[in-house]
Symmetry: C2
């Protein structure tokens, strides 16, 4: 709890929602279709919804990362991940690239990305700098890929990292668990939604007023 307070108190935080998009999350999405188990997404969604509601209530900015793949950014190396060299995931403009069960408010920022990490060839650093964000509250999918890559880069770029373990999901439990260990030991800290919401609620409570009349 002490570490969480050190990461949140007097620091401007943002909730980063990574790749909560149909192709990664929906049972009919591209990742499910190539045989990955997306059931952990269903388990995480109540925590994510709760975290987003609380963030919005307490004025904590929410930033959405959205993967967009298209010919212009699908380099030979990037598509070499796929045996047939064809990237089936999150094509720009497709249903698969649309958000899954979350929706940015008009006031919230979406950062498009073309690699796992939200920092690679994107405007994320500029957005965070403009908003004077110091702490990244990391959520989304998949824990060990896009969330962890963004958390690693973010920490190395001097952001404090709080990974929300019940608001992230991976496609296997060992991958999810190893990221929690890695982030906790080397890249920041791990917390759950309740700890963060409790902190915001305590912090947001009106301070006792001195009656001077």
């Amino acid at each position: 709890m002490e570490k969480l307070i050190a990461n949140l108190a007097n620091k401007k935080s943002a909730v980063i929602v990574v790749d909560v998009q149909n192709d990664y999350c929906h049972p009919d999405g591209a990742i499910a279709k190539i045989g990955s188990d997306v059931s952990a997404v269903k388990t995480m969604m109540p925590a994510l919804h709760g975290l987003l509601a609380s963030a919005r209530e307490h004025g904590v900015p929410v930033i959405f990362l959205q993967t967009n793949h298209e010919k212009a950014t699908d380099s030979d190396v990037w598509v070499s991940r796929f045996a047939d060299g064809i990237n089936p995931i999150c094509h720009t403009g497709s249903w698969g690239a649309e958000f899954y069960e979350v929706a940015p408010l008009p006031s919230e920022t979406v950062v498009k990305k073309h690699r796992y990490s939200g920092f690679i060839h994107t405007r994320l650093a500029s957005v965070l700098q403009t908003m004077k964000i110091e702490t990244l509250i990391m959520t989304g999918v998949s824990t060990n890929l896009c969330v962890e890559s963004t958390a690693r880069d973010g920490f190395m770029l001097d952001y404090r990292i709080v990974l929300v373990k019940d608001a992230c999901a991976a496609f296997t439990q060992p991958e999810h668990d190893m990221t929690l260990k890695t982030v906790d030991a080397y890249f920041g800290m791990v917390a759950d939604t309740k700890q963060i919401v409790d902190f915001w609620q305590r912090q947001g409570a009106p301070a006792p007023q001195l009656v001077t009349t």
Copy 2:
């Protein structure tokens, strides 16, 4: 083997030697002193020495990453990893920052770094671009931190990644093993020293000559 050929044939490769420095590797170094088990380094060194000898014999460039920590780059976030806020590792100019059992040739490049990844706030991308490198043959310590962070960023910046499993070491076996899985599945491929040396030896054999006189 097919994947290894696809990553090495007709591509300019470099061996990247990550953080093979006393503080990470030597039994008297800072990491051993804070209780981490550096014994896997001893196990990996023969493979690394063999790989470097073969690379030099076959004209494959070797690039050394060298961690250098000092006040100018030890940000609050970076030193928050340490309970006392003091970074005991690889101080610029110290014995701990010196290379451990390896030494760059005068013709080889050293890239200093201040975070886990060799790409964060360094000249590595410029060096690789200048040398027209396409494939990074990743070695060094620790597998899951500086090697993996550099491999993740490298892949996302469009370099082909070959992680050399017997020329890397972590401070625990599960961390080492998880990185092998992660890199193999998502960020490139895993090979061993023998496969790479064999490839260079086959490639380096003189082509059959047609006698035309």
